[in-house]
């Protein structure tokens, strides 16, 4: 075996390495600066995200594999890596004042964030099931800690423990699935699996293995029926972290799922498409319907994030290039939209006590018109109204479902979209059409980094809806190179 490390090897792990290096820098420098200057380390973390983002962007046209095929170097990896990096970078901005006001702003917070994103980026480029597993652990373990970071808030601690226990189960399923897959095919290399499956076809052991992998990743993306942890964890975790989890962990989970199912197991799609399609339908239905009855915005967005996993699963179930490109675009649009929505929630979270119920948002337009307008854009995008990124994303996924002749799934998709309009509109109704009850006016906090996040994500949501051309070209290239035959 040739153990020489080539430049492709280095390039293939460049973005996650940058993130990990910055994470360690944050930890080390923290020891040498005075306590009152430590919040400034957030900016170091932000620089880390920017550098990693530039690196990922620069690598976007590279093709190859590193470390004997373990790490893929392709546009697909960079696109999803960028999604995670963008999510991480914005989370630094939304967290800055949030953690300082609550006195939970230790530098570890940002180091953990960087580690978690490095896991997500690694996941996007994993070309080997063991790397998938390692990346999953690397992204999850910091998230368990981050979910509990609002200590001594019992809700936050409950969130962390719940997330950890169920996450550990999910890892177990995934690992067992990997083992069975290895037993069936004698390889855990995704390229080798793709090649071998064409020759030997499917076998019961392989299908059970693939099923368990699906369960493990289903936990991470919060697909029904593996979603039970989501509402409590999302509600309990610090608000900026909830936003981060809802997009970052989802992007990473789908990164692995799309590569394993859309690429490696593509040849036996007849065996798994129907299962994924049913998961997708169940996820859209359950997520959207339970979201209706929520009285707390954070919880509502948690269920809505379940529902959105269902839409992306539609792209997986379509098992075609359109579906993969659609899922990538959807993740991109969803990242901006949801990070923005959670940034608004963060702005509404007063340090003296968080009230995220609907009445707290009544008459917000009168108190902070800008904030309400941006929230309107995010809500319209989540509903899928034209001229927002969310619409183009949904459009793309419906397109893939119809191409794959999954008409029933597309119809469930549009009907649940109508259901979802109901609870997204409720936010708009409260902000614009109702007056706050006297004494109930929650005033939004006003911090520059937070406002930057909200404005930039709203702008991105709008641009992705009006001139999506370059983003579409990117995701189509990524899908074509991965699935191209």
């Amino acid at each position: 075996m040739n153990l020489q490390v080539t430049s492709t090897d280095y390039l293939s792990i460049l973005p996650p390495t940058i993130l990990a290096v910055f994470a360690m820098l944050v930890l080390v420098i923290d020891l040498f600066v005075k306590p009152e200057r430590r919040p400034g380390l957030a900016w170091l973390a932000l620089i880390g995200f920017v550098v990693a983002g530039v690196a990922a962007f620069a690598l976007i046209n590279q093709r190859g594999t590193g470390f004997h095929g373990m790490i893929a170097l392709d546009p697909y990896a960079q696109v999803l890596g960028l999604v995670a990096i963008v999510a991480g970078g914005f989370t630094v901005l939304t967290s800055f004042n949030y953690v300082r006001d609550r006195n939970i702003g230790r530098s570890e917070y940002y180091a953990l964030l960087l580690f978690s994103v490095s896991g997500m980026v690694l996941m996007a480029s994993a070309n080997n099931l063991i790397i998938v597993f390692i990346a999953l652990e690397l992204l999850s373990i910091p998230l368990y800690v981050l979910a509990g970071f609002a200590r001594p808030d019992p809700q936050s601690e409950e969130a962390a423990l719940k997330y950890f226990l169920l996450g550990a189960f999910a890892s177990g399923f995934l690992l067992f699935g990997i083992a069975l897959t290895y037993g069936a095919l004698g390889s855990i290399d995704l390229t080798v699996i793709a090649a071998k499956i064409g020759q030997v076809g499917s076998s019961p052991m392989l299908l059970i293995g693939a099923g368990l992998i699906l369960v493990g990743l289903g936990f991470k993306v919060a697909a029904v029926p593996f979603h039970m942890w989501t509402p409590d964890v999302y509600e309990g975790a610090p608000t900026p972290i909830t936003g981060f989890m809802s997009v970052g962990a989802k992007a990473a989970g789908f990164a692995a799922m799309l590569r394993v199912f859309g690429y490696s197991l593509h040849a036996i799609q007849a065996d798994w498409v129907i299962i994924v399609a049913i998961l997708s339908a169940a996820t859209m239905i359950v997520g959207n319907i339970i979201a209706i009855s929520q009285t707390n915005l954070k919880r509502m967005l948690a269920y809505s994030s379940i529902a959105h996993a269902g839409y992306i699963l539609m792209g997986v179930a379509s098992a075609n290039q359109t579906g993969m490109a659609g899922a990538l675009f959807y993740l991109l649009a969803y990242t901006f939209t949801n990070i923005g929505a959670f940034a608004v929630l963060t702005a509404m979270a007063r340090p003296e006590g968080e009230n995220q119920t609907f009445p707290a948002y009544r008459g917000l337009y009168k108190r902070s018109p800008g904030l309400a307008l941006m929230m309107m854009i995010f809500m319209l995008s989540l509903t899928g109204i034209p001229l927002t990124g969310g619409f183009i994303g949904k459009y793309y996924l419906f397109l893939s479902a119809i191409e794959a002749r999954l008409y029933w799934l597309a119809i469930i998709g549009v009907l649940t979209s109508v259901v979802s309009a109901f609870f997204y509109l409720r936010v708009i109704v409260d902000m614009f059409m109702r007056e706050a009850e006297p004494g109930q006016e929650v005033k939004a906090v006003n911090y520059a980094p937070l406002n930057w996040t909200i404005n930039l994500t709203a702008l991105a949501t709008f641009v992705l809806g009006v001139i999506p051309t370059s983003a579409l070209a990117l995701v189509q290239l990524a899908a074509k190179l991965l699935m191209g035959t």
């Binding site: 109204i385 034209p386 459009y395 397109l399 979209s417 109508v418 409720r426 109704v429 059409m433």
Partner: protein, 503 residues
């Protein structure tokens, strides 16, 4: 610069949006500037849109004899999906476009004093709404059409939800959800057409639609039809309409009844008939029966109302039933009558809503038993109200008669039974409209509060008189309007197959 190639459609469509952007930068305290900018924009849009009719030098004019779409523009928008910004107008869209550009400034003028809160947002939404509506009527790309179609939802939702009556939130959400449910099914149908027809361009789909013979036409037809039927609204999809109308501010009702409902009937004419002729033929009896039920049901329910605005709202269900019946008669007269009746209904019902708004501003009630004997106190108002009512009722010499009569003529040729049933709607309309007029304007002035009302102001006259003039013009000399659409209606029917007997 070559003036003959001026992108006139885009200019008209996006002028209101430009005005909205200007208002965005005005301070909220500059109320007069905001109102004047909005009004100026809407009037300018109307004047520019007149260029489609009146030729000035090298610009403008409309070739009545030419089949197909004029003033076409095509620019790639999202090449990855094969989506273009493709617009163009034929005679049918021309008339509806002019209706829109005419009603919008009148609606803005009518809200001059009645909207006191958040005027800035109000005017911005009105102008965005105009761009959306114009976009619907000029789009020739199915995706673009869908985008405009959905975009009209948002400003209307806010107009009802913020400036509406006591149950405005309920009405706004109901309006939004109903429309969205329909339009998403249409989106799936559009996607199917796009994938299998390899284009989203209506003209290209029509030019090469032999493949559609083998497609699941009925499913696609239903996908489009549900979206449009909800918008029209065709019975039994109408239940959002009374709520939306009653709660909407006056100008919102005017636009809703005047233009938004026509987007539905226009959709049937523009997409359902030409794209899916076989399915349309199969579905015609069902739709005709629903339309007739709507005509009679709308009329009877109107009669039972005590609130004038509700009465006018339900009368829309009845009137739009006529339009649907005309379209699905598949005869030239039926469709021409239907198109003219779309314009007529926009004018008459728009005017009725304006009239109801005028009295509501004075008395803050719309209950008919609060009035009575108004004619003596408000002679001008009473006379104009009578003209508008009679036009809505279909009195010969006024616009409504020409439309309804032509529709019935065309329907008779297609199916005399349908025509017979529909004709009862004309009689019922006379009953509920005359009863309303009698309750409000005749007899003694019993209610003290009504005795000191002021007659219409100059501004209010400016709002209503243009419509009254058109009511007479169309009633007495409808020829130019028919001429504008004849070629286009024949075009629709040609796509549809051989002309039906009696044509």
């Amino acid at each position: 610069m070559n003036l003959t190639n001026l992108p006139l459609i885009s200019i008209v469509t996006f002028l209101p949006l430009a005005g909205a952007i200007i208002i965005l930068f005005l301070r909220r305290e500059e109320e007069n500037n905001i109102k004047q900018t909005a009004m100026a924009t809407a009037v300018l849009t109307f004047i520019v849109s007149l260029l489609f009719v009146v030729r000035i030098g090298p610009v403008g004019g409309f070739d009545l004899a030419r089949a197909g779409f004029q003033y076409g523009e095509k620019v790639a928008w999202i090449p990855a999906f094969g989506i273009n910004y493709e617009v163009g107008i034929d005679g049918i869209s021309l008339l509806l476009l002019l209706l829109t550009t005419l009603l919008t400034p009148l609606a803005i003028l009518s809200s001059w004093n009645s909207i006191k809160e958040r005027q800035k947002e109000y005017m911005i939404f009105m102008l965005i709404l105009e761009t959306g509506m114009l976009g619907v009527f000029v789009s020739l790309d199915l995706f673009l059409f869908y985008v405009f179609w959905e975009i009209t939802l948002v400003p209307m939702y806010f107009l009802i939800g913020i400036w509406g009556g006591p149950r405005r939130v309920y009405a706004a959400v109901k309006f939004f959800l109903y429309t969205m449910a329909g339009s998403l099914l249409m989106l799936l149908a559009i996607l199917y057409l796009g994938i299998n027809g390899h284009t989203f361009s209506l003209t290209e789909l029509l030019a090469n639609h032999s493949w559609l013979a083998g497609a699941p036409q009925m499913a696609l037809f239903v996908g489009f039809a549900v979206a449009f039927a909800i918008k029209v609204p065709l019975w039994p999809f109408h239940s959002w309409l009374p709520d939306a109308h009653v709660e909407a501010p006056t100008a919102g009702s005017v636009i809703l009844a005047g233009v938004l409902l026509k987007m539905g009937t226009y959709g049937f004419l523009r997409f359902n008939l030409p794209l899916f002729p076989d399915a349309a033929r199969q579905a015609a009896p069902v739709i005709a029966v629903l339309a007739i039920i709507g005509i009679i049901y709308g009329a009877i329910v109107s009669f039972a109302q005590t609130d004038v605005k509700k009465l006018v709202a339900y009368s829309s269900v009845s009137h739009l039933g006529f339009v649907m019946l005309g379209i699905f008669s598949f005869t030239p007269q039926g469709i021409q009558g239907a198109v003219l009746q779309m314009i007529n209904h926009g004018l008459s019902t728009g005017a009725l809503f304006l009239m109801v708004g005028f009295i509501y501003e004075r008395r803050h009630t719309r209950e008919m038993d609060q009035f009575g004997g108004l004619w003596k106190i408000l002679p001008i108002y009473g006379t104009l109200f009578l003209i508008v009512s009679l036009s809505s009722m279909g009195l010969p010499g006024l616009n409504g008669f020409v439309g309804e009569f032509t529709i019935l003529l065309g329907t008779w040729a297609a199916n005399p039974v349908w025509a017979a049933f529909a004709a009862t709607g004309v009689i019922l309309a006379a009953i509920y409209i005359l009863t309303m007029f009698q309750k409000m304007f005749m007899g003694e002035t019993r209610n003290e509060e009504n005795k000191h009302l002021l007659d219409l102001s100059q501004r209010e006259l400016w709002v209503i008189v243009p419509i009254i003039v058109l009511i007479f013009v169309i009633g007495l000399y409808p020829n130019p309007f028919f001429q504008a659409m004849t070629t286009s209606v024949d075009g629709v029917l040609r796509q549809f197959g051989p002309l039906v007997a009696g044509g």
